[in-house]
Symmetry: C2
């Protein structure tokens, strides 16, 4: 067994960065609506001015603004109706001074006009004449070409995670299909002789496979393609074969369970037996999450899973998560998920956090970053308060109460009750 | 054309409630991991005590606590090793005073023991004897049956939206498949002669179909099954046939576009021609979003789309959204989405909002609730500030900058700069 040199999270990130830098993820095209939740594979530029043409934003008459200067309810101006603009059609009318042209919302303004008068301020006298009762300033109630954005403007950067609110803009610039980064593939292996399938009824000593589904759900939330989830017996040979097989089809292999010291040693030995450099981190200075093993295995390019384009070689990540469900999830979110976002998705955007007053003191871990689960509630003044969730280390039910977590740096003196904290939402 | 009696949002909700109360959504079973984002179709109860058995949370020896009272580094107690517990197996050893049994993390404690001593505080003298250097309190380092939750405890309520963090607990209680509410089916029709497919290059006067994809993305985010998205010409007969067809396969039909007054009238006429009660709201007192049309059509049960189980009749919703993209999205989120969550998903949970200081005064609309898009930023003290997004009404690019919106009640005097607001996140 290797010496238990526990790494800080920063040290882990630095080590990972040194191995995972030569590969670049491949791009695939997906239909626009299926792109929600995916990460952009390239920068997105506009292919048109928006709007492309001078457009009315109201129903009314296009006019030359100076024809309407000085008019009022009691003193209208009379204009000649020179025509009507059809929706979706180019307008070939040229408006002369003293004329007006009917334009519906979204319609194209005729040449020579410079503003719109809303239908409410118009009286139609006959087929050829209207009275205008309100003056229009030049450029009022219209959008000029490029008012919204210009052709070749950058709208989204590579690595941006596409949200529902982005779909309209992608549609506006013609992205019926969107270039997104391929999802890395992950296999999750649940180890332990006590672990049974979720659908089974546990006998004394047995426990259902909680962690692998929980981790899979968090991985899928990050945008990972979880290929397989399997329970493996706690035997060196069986586990080694399972990890080897998983590495063939996946970019990442996550081992869940095996809380005991012996199981951890076995996991580390198996990782080391499968390639170089093997285990790079045997324990992380975080609380919870200390018994985390991280291994890196360099593969020849041709062995790598489809989806990652290696230059010289590909590295694959093997992570042995802590056995306790809450610790496994926190390590996944803090270490694995942020690695995946950075390395596979080129994603740099910070999540929105909620500022809240913490209800109790939280102690800093000795030399370890502490991640405290909290649930958010409103106080009487409708401000957010964060209540720490206290749970025995084997508890699973408490995770569902958590809205997120608070990070307490290892060198701090902890957090005093009532002070403001940033809650990272799940 | 009907009189433009504009309804408040509360009036709209009240009207909808009066029509949509007899139906109850059907339940379908989905595999556990696919249940993320779905709404529970029934309450979920635990089927086991968790843990089911007295379980160690450390690697070490099960002992009788009082055998260790008073021991110290310099004065250990010597205990006889009575055996080893295997993971996943029931333990049939009965521990006698003066004995200890090895139990790995997660293993079952033998009868007669009442606490665990961690391996760090043990010295193994020979195969049959250990020295214990630290006293154990009764119940230390163990979980008793039901410590986490008890059998038949309610864990989740019907209508709860399943999150990634819930998957572990659902696994723990054996939900390999989860009962969820069927998704309502929605058709989205984009109307307007100026609208072209996203993949086309717009000619002067034309515009790509922005709204229907944007609305579809928001609908899918809510959990709706968007069946079809189509562009329909601005003709009474064609639009009427399209709505009629859409009603056959969908529970909800959304019409997008048709900003002009004439197009709105046509939409209302078509809804009225298709059944009773027809248009129930012709304009909502909200800003943006006033030109919204809401129609309800009562259907016989056998005509209704699969998925909704009607008692006497089914009502279907037809919504004509405003033409401007941002207005369409705000109306969808504030009116349609909240209706869907309430009626189809029995979902009552409030979203988490972010409290922020607004950077500018926002005026209340005269007699209309105002929804102001904002983007969130950090100030120097790392507090959230909300910057109102000012955009011409036809703008689409500004929506992507928005992190959410702030609601200003119609009867308020607006919001002063620097005051705190609640931002509903997109």
């Amino acid at each position: 067994m290797k010496l238990l040199n526990v790494d800080t999270i920063e040290e882990v990130q630095k080590k990972l960065k040194s191995y995972f830098q030569t590969a670049s993820a491949q791009i695939e095209m997906v239909p626009l609506r299926q792109s929600v939740g995916r990460y952009l594979g390239e920068d997105i530029f506009s292919d048109v001015d928006m709007p492309q043409f001078r457009r009315s934003v109201v129903d009314g008459y296009a006019v030359l603004a100076k024809d309407t200067f000085g008019v009022s309810d009691s003193m209208p101006v009379f204009l000649e109706v020179a025509g009507t603009v059809d929706m979706g059609k180019a307008c070939d009318i040229v408006l002369e001074p003293g004329q007006a042209v009917y334009v519906p919302t979204g319609g194209m303004l005729p040449q020579g006009s410079d503003s719109m008068v809303m239908i409410e301020y118009i009286e139609k006298l006959d087929e050829k004449t209207i009275a205008v009762y309100k003056p229009a300033a030049p450029n009022s109630k219209i959008m000029n070409p490029g008012d919204d954005f210009r052709k070749n403007e950058i709208l989204f950067s590579k690595g941006h995670r596409i949200a529902a609110k982005d779909i309209g803009l992608l549609a506006a610039v013609g992205k019926a299909e969107v270039p997104v980064l391929r999802k890395p593939k992950m296999s999750i292996l649940s180890t332990g002789d006590e672990i049974i399938e979720i659908s089974e009824i546990p006998k004394p000593g047995e426990i259902r496979d909680i962690n692998s589904s929980a981790v899979a759900a968090f991985a899928e939330k990050t945008g990972v393609d979880v290929r397989s989830v399997a329970i493996v017996e706690d035997s060196y040979e069986k586990l080694r074969i399972a990890v080897e097989e998983a590495l063939k089809e996946s970019d990442l292999v996550v081992l869940s369970g095996g809380s005991s010291a012996g199981a951890k040693d076995m996991t580390a030995e198996i990782i080391d037996s499968l390639g170089e450099p093997g285990v790079i981190t045997h324990g992380i200075a975080m609380k919870p999450g200390k018994p985390t093993i991280i291994g890196v295995l360099a593969q020849k390019a041709q062995d790598s899973a489809e989806g990652i384009n290696c230059q010289n070689h590909c590295c694959k990540l093997v992570v042995g998560l802590p056995g306790h469900p809450m610790a496994a999830i926190i390590v996944y979110e803090v270490v694995v998920s942020s690695f995946i976002k950075q390395y596979y998705f080129h994603h740099k955007e910070e999540p929105i956090t909620v500022t809240a007053a913490i209800t109790e003191n939280i102690h800093a871990g000795e030399g370890r970053e502490t991640y405290q689960l909290v649930s958010l509630k409103r106080d009487d003044a409708l401000q957010w308060i964060a209540e720490p969730i206290h749970a025995k280390s084997g508890s699973i039910s408490q995770l569902m109460l958590a809205d997120g977590f608070v990070r307490i740096p290892s060198l701090s003196e902890g957090i005093d009750a009532k002070s403001r904290v940033e809650v990272v939402l799940f």
